[in-house]
C-alpha cells in the first residue's frame, strides 16, 4: 500500500466529494440531499486519513475523521428531524417546494 502513494486515495476522495456535491445539487428528494452531504463528509474524511498516512501529521488526521463521523451522525439526526417536520408541513420532501423565504 505504501507503494501506491497518496494519489489514488486522494482521487477516490475527490470522486466521492464530487459525487456528493452533484448529488446535493441534483436531488430534489431531501433524503437524497442528505446522502450527498454524507458523501461529501466521507470524501473529506478520506482526505484526512490519507494525509494522516502519508505526511508527518500522525494520528491527528484520523482523530479528525472520527470527529467528522460523529458530527455526521449528529447532523444526520438533526437533518432527519428537519425532514420529518418539512414533511409535516408540505406533505412532501421535495426541497424545491421549500422556497417560502425567497426574495
Amino acid at each position: 500500500m505504501d507503494q501506491l502513494g497518496p494519489n489514488p486515495f486522494l482521487f477516490i476522495g475527490a470522486v466521492l466529494f464530487v459525487c456528493g456535491v452533484v448529488c446535493m445539487t441534483t436531488k430534489r428528494n431531501g433524503i437524497g440531499v442528505l446522502m450527498g452531504v454524507e458523501l461529501v463528509l466521507n470524501g473529506a474524511s478520506l482526505n484526512f486519513i490519507t494525509f494522516s498516512k502519508f505526511t508527518p501529521l500522525g494520528l491527528d488526521g484520523q482523530v479528525f475523521s472520527l470527529f467528522v463521523i460523529v458530527l455526521a451522525a449528529a447532523e444526520a439526526a438533526v437533518a432527519l428531524a428537519i425532514t420529518l417536520n418539512f414533511y409535516n408541513n408540505h406533505l412532501t420532501i421535495d426541497v424545491d417546494r421549500g422556497d417560502e423565504l425567497h426574495g
Binding site: V33, D96, G98, H102
Partner: protein, 800 residues
C-alpha cells in the same frame, strides 16, 4: 406698671389691626365659602366694633390719666397749660428700614385728635357696617342680576353675589384709615394715604361691570395721583431739609432725643420762627445734650436751616395731597362721580372718613404750615365751599346733592384751618362726619326703598311711607344747615365727677358760657365763621374769606332743605314708584337713629362742650396766640380772644343766612309759591352753567383728557407706523430667509439623505433576486464559489 403710652398704643394698634385680620379672613373665607353666608358681615362688624371699644377705652384711659385737664382747661387760656402730665405720646412699633440717615418705621403719634378720630371713625364705621348688612343683602345670591348692565343679546348681566367682597374691602378700608390716623411720621401717612386711595378705587368700582362705575373709579384714582404728586414733592423737601419724617421726638436713649418735625419748627412766643440770613432762612431747632429744645448756635456743625420759600413749597406740596384726597378745588371733580359705589361706601368713604383724611392731615401737619400756605388753604377751601354749594342747588340725583354738599363742607373745614381756626376746622370735621354719614345712610335707605331710583324728580311724599328715614334725615339736614333756636340759651353746669355737662335753660343775659340750643352743625360752622370774621378784621383785604362762607351757609341751608322737601314732602311725582316704596328694615333704620342722636348732640354745648375742648387740647401751641404778620408783609392770624369777640356777630349772621336759605327753600319746594321750573327757564344760562358743574369736567376734558388722547393717538400712530413697520420688515426678511432655507433643506439635505436611502433600497431590491429560496441552487453556488476560489488561489499564488 405699664406706661400709659404703651397701653394707648397697644389698644389703638388692636383697633387698627383687627380690620386687617378681618379682611384676610373675609377675602379668603368668602372665596371658598358660600355666597349666601352673612359670616363676612358679622366678622367685619365684630372687628370694627371691637376696634371701637378699644378706641373708647383708650380715650377714657387717656382722659383719666391726664385728669381730664383737657376738658377743664377753658377756652382761650389753653396756651398756658403746664406740661406736668404728658398728653402726647409718640413712639415706634416697627422699623421698616434704615438707609443711612433715612429711618423708615411704623410709628404712632397719639394725642387727643388721634383719639377723637379713632373713636369717630370706628363708631361711624360700625354703624355703616350694620346698615350695609341690610343694604347689601341682595348680593347674598349665587346669581346676581345687574339690571344696569346690558349684554349684547339684550339681557342683563349675571354674576355671583359679592357680599363678602364688599365687607372685606370695607375692612381693608377701615384698616387703612385707622393706620393713617395713628401714623407717627409723614411717610407712614403716605403709605396709608395710598392704601385708602386703593380701597376707594375698589369700592367705587364695586359694580365694575357698569361702565360708569369703572370710569368713576379710574377718575378718582387718577385725580388723586395729581394731588399725591404734590405730596411726594413735599416729602422730598422735608426729607432733604429736615432729615426726618417723624412728627414727634424720637428717643435715642441715654437721655438724648432726636427732634421731630413739629419740634424743629416750633414757634417762639409770638408765633415767629428762629431765622437767619436776614430772615430768609429758618433755623431748625434741636435738642441739646440735656434734652432741652433750643436753637443751635451758629458754630454748631449739626445746625440745619431751610429756606423760607422752601418751607412754603413743602407746605403747599403736602397740602396738594390734601386737595386731591379731600376733593378741594381744583381737584374736586372726582367725588361726585365716586357716588357710583354702593351707598354705604359713599357714607363711609366719601363723606365721613376718607375725604376727611385730607383735612386731618392738614390739621396734623399744621405746625409746619407757614401763614402764606395757610392763606392758600383758606382760599382753596373758600372757593371749594362756594362752587360745590352752587352746583348742589341744581343737582337732582339725591346722592349727587350730598356729594356736592360734602365737597362744600370739606371746603369749610379747610377754610377754618386756613384762617387760623385749628380746632374749629377739625371740630367741623367730626360733626360733619356724623351728620353726613347719617344723611348718606338715609339716602341709601331711600334708594333701597325706591328700588334703586336715585332721581329726586321721581320721588316726593315719602314722609308717610318711610317716617324713620325722613325724620332722621331731617335731623341731619338741620344739623348741616346750622339752624338753631335763637333766644333760647342754655347754661351748662359742670359736675365734678362726670365730664358731662348739666344743662339748664337760662335767659340770654347770662352770656359767658351760654349758647343757643342747636344741633352739631351750628356750633362747628359758627366756630369757623367766627374765626373767619376775626381773620377778616385783622386782614381787611381778605374780606371774602368771611363773606363767601357766610353766603355759602345760606346756600347750604337752601339746597339741603330743597333735598328734604323734594324727597319727603309734596305729592308723589311717580305714582307707580310711590306705591312700591317701603320703609327699610330695622337693621338699616337702627344705625340711622343712633347716628341721628350723635349728629344732633355730638357737639353739645359747642365750644364749651367736651368735644371742642378735647380737640383744642391738641392744638399746636402757637395757634392760640395768633400771629402778627403786618410788619413782615404777610397775613396775620387771629388769637383766641379775637375769635371769641367776633363769635356772637358771626353766629347771628350765620343763623340769619341759614334761616333765609331755609325759608326760600320752603317757599319754593315746600309751599310751591314759585314753580322751580319757571326759575329754571328764567335763568336758563345760570342753570345750564351750574348743571354743567361750572364746566370743570369740560375744562379738564379739553385741557388734559383730550390732549392726552391726542398724544396717545400720536404715540399709537408712531407705534403702528414706525415700530410695527420695523418689526414687520424684520419679520418679512425672516420669512424670505426661511423660504430659502427651506428650499436648501428640501433640495440638498433631504435630497442627499433620500439618495442614500434610495440607493440602499434599490440595491436591496437587486440582491433580493439572488434569494431564490431554492436550496439546490445555493449548494450549486457554494460549490462553484469554492471551485472558483481554488482556481483563483492557484492562479494568483501558483508557487503555493
Amino acid at each position: 406698671m405699664i406706661d400709659l403710652g404703651d397701653k394707648l398704643s397697644t389698644l389703638l394698634a388692636i383697633a387698627w389691626l383687627l380690620p386687617l385680620l378681618g379682611f384676610v379672613i373675609e377675602v379668603f373665607g368668602g372665596y371658598w365659602g358660600s355666597r349666601k353666608s352673612k359670616a363676612a358681615a358679622n366678622l367685619a362688624i365684630g372687628c370694627i366694633a371691637t376696634g371701637f371699644l378699644c378706641s373708647a377705652l383708650a380715650l377714657w384711659m387717656w382722659g383719666d390719666a391726664t385728669g381730664w385737664t383737657a376738658l377743664a382747661a377753658a377756652h382761650g387760656e389753653h396756651g398756658t397749660t403746664d406740661h406736668a402730665t404728658q398728653t402726647v405720646f409718640s413712639g415706634s412699633f416697627y422699623t421698616l428700614a434704615d438707609f443711612g440717615d433715612l429711618h423708615l418705621s411704623l410709628d404712632y403719634y397719639i394725642d387727643s385728635l388721634t383719639l377723637a378720630m379713632f373713636v369717630m371713625v370706628t363708631f361711624i364705621a360700625t354703624c355703616i357696617h350694620v346698615f350695609a348688612t341690610g343694604y347689601m343683602a341682595e348680593e347674598l345670591v349665587d346669581d346676581y342680576v345687574d339690571h344696569q348692565v346690558h349684554t349684547h343679546d339684550g339681557g342683563h348681566f349675571h354674576r355671583p353675589g359679592r357680599f363678602y367682597k364688599f365687607f372685606s374691602y370695607m375692612s381693608l378700608f377701615c384698616f387703612a384709615m385707622l393706620g393713617l390716623v395713628l401714623a407717627g411720621n409723614i411717610f407712614q401717612v403716605f403709605i396709608f394715604w395710598e392704601l385708602v386711595g386703593i380701597c376707594s378705587y375698589l369700592l367705587i368700582g364695586f359694580y365694575v361691570e357698569r361702565h360708569s362705575a369703572s370710569t368713576a373709579a379710574n377718575k378718582a384714582f387718577i385725580v388723586n395721583r395729581v394731588g399725591d404728586f404734590g405730596f411726594i414733592i413735599g416729602l422730598m423737601i422735608l426729607w432733604t431739609s429736615f432729615g426726618t419724617f417723624s412728627f414727634g421726638d424720637r428717643d435715642l436713649g441715654e437721655g438724648k432725643k432726636q427732634a421731630g418735625l413739629f419740634s424743629m419748627v416750633a414757634r417762639g412766643e409770638h408765633g415767629e420762627f428762629a431765622t437767619t440770613n436776614h430772615g430768609q432762612d429758618v433755623v431748625l431747632k434741636t435738642f441739646d445734650d440735656h434734652g432741652h429744645l433750643q436753637v443751635p448756635a451758629e458754630t454748631d456743625s449739626t445746625r440745619k436751616t431751610i429756606a423760607y420759600t422752601l418751607l412754603i413749597v413743602a407746605g403747599l406740596g403736602v397740602f396738594g395731597g390734601c386737595v386731591g384726597k379731600s376733593a378741594q378745588f381744583p381737584l374736586q371733580t372726582w367725588l361726585p362721580d365716586a357716588m357710583e359705589g354702593p351707598t354705604p361706601v359713599s357714607a363711609l368713604v366719601h363723606s365721613a372718613t376718607m375725604v376727611a383724611a385730607g383735612v386731618y392731615l392738614a390739621g396734623r401737619f399744621y405746625p409746619v404750615f407757614v401763614p402764606e400756605v395757610l392763606l392758600t388753604i383758606a382760599y382753596v377751601g373758600c372757593i371749594t365751599a362756594f362752587v360745590a354749594a352752587t352746583i348742589a342747588i341744581v343737582a337732582t340725583d339725591i346722592k349727587k346733592v350730598l356729594a356736592y354738599s360734602t365737597i362744600s363742607q370739606l371746603g369749610y373745614m379747610m377754610l377754618g384751618l386756613g384762617v387760623g381756626g385749628w380746632a374749629a376746622g377739625l371740630f367741623h370735621l367730626i360733626t360733619h362726619a356724623f351728620f353726613k354719614s347719617l344723611m348718606f345712610l338715609c339716602s341709601g335707605s331711600v334708594i333701597a326703598g325706591c328700588h334703586h331710583e336715585q332721581e329726586m324728580t321721581k320721588m316726593g311724599g315719602l314722609l308717610k311711607k318711610m317716617p324713620i328715614t325722613a325724620l332722621t334725615m331731617l335731623v341731619g339736614v338741620i344739623a348741616i344747615a346750622g339752624l338753631a333756636i335763637p333766644g333760647l340759651y342754655v347754661r351748662f353746669y359742670w359736675l365734678w365727677i362726670l365730664p358731662v355737662p348739666y344743662p339748664s335753660i337760662v335767659s340770654p343775659e347770662a352770656l359767658p358760657g351760654a349758647y343757643a340750643l342747636a344741633l352739631s352743625g351750628f356750633h362747628s360752622k359758627d366756630a369757623i365763621l367766627a374765626t373767619g370774621l376775626a381773620f377778616e378784621n385783622l386782614n381787611q383785604v381778605h374780606f371774602l374769606l368771611f363773606l363767601i362762607p357766610l353766603l355759602t351757609a345760606g346756600i347750604t341751608s337752601f339746597y339741603m332743605f330743597r333735598l328734604w322737601f323734594y324727597t319727603f314732602l309734596g305729592k308723589p311725582r311717580d305714582q307707580h314708584l310711590h306705591e312700591h316704596v317701603h320703609e327699610s328694615p330695622w337693621v338699616m333704620t337702627g344705625p340711622l337713629v343712633v347716628l341721628a342722636f350723635f349728629a344732633a348732640f355730638c357737639a353739645f354745648a359747642g365750644e364749651e362742650g367736651n368735644l371742642f375742648k378735647m380737640l383744642s387740647h391738641s392744638q399746636p401751641a402757637h395757634v392760640a396766640h395768633g400771629f402778627d404778620g403786618s410788619h413782615a408783609g404777610s397775613v396775620s392770624l387771629p388769637d383766641h380772644d379775637a375769635i371769641h369777640k367776633s363769635h356772637s356777630t358771626a353766629g347771628n349772621a350765620a343763623l340769619l343766612a341759614a334761616f333765609i336759605g331755609m325759608t326760600i327753600s320752603y317757599l319754593i319746594y315746600g309751599k310751591g309759591v314759585v314753580d322751580p321750573d319757571d326759575i329754571k327757564r328764567q335763568a336758563a344760562a345760570v342753570h345750564g352753567f351750574l348743571v354743567n358743574k361750572w364746566g370743570f369736567d369740560d375744562l379738564y376734558d379739553a385741557m388734559f383728557v383730550k390732549p392726552a388722547h391726542v398724544v396717545a393717538k400720536f404715540a399709537a400712530a408712531i407705534d403702528k407706523f414706525v415700530f410695527d413697520e420695523i418689526l414687520h420688515t424684520f419679520v418679512r426678511i425672516g420669512i424670505v430667509i426661511s423660504k430659502w432655507d427651506r428650499k436648501f433643506d428640501e433640495g440638498v439635505i433631504d435630497g442627499f439623505v433620500n439618495m442614500m436611502g434610495n440607493s440602499t433600497h434599490s440595491m436591496g431590491l437587486g440582491l433580493r433576486n439572488a434569494q431564490t429560496g431554492s436550496i439546490r441552487q445555493y449548494v450549486t453556488f457554494i460549490a462553484i464559489s469554492v471551485v472558483t476560489l481554488f482556481v483563483l488561489l492557484f492562479a494568483l499564488y501558483p508557487s503555493g
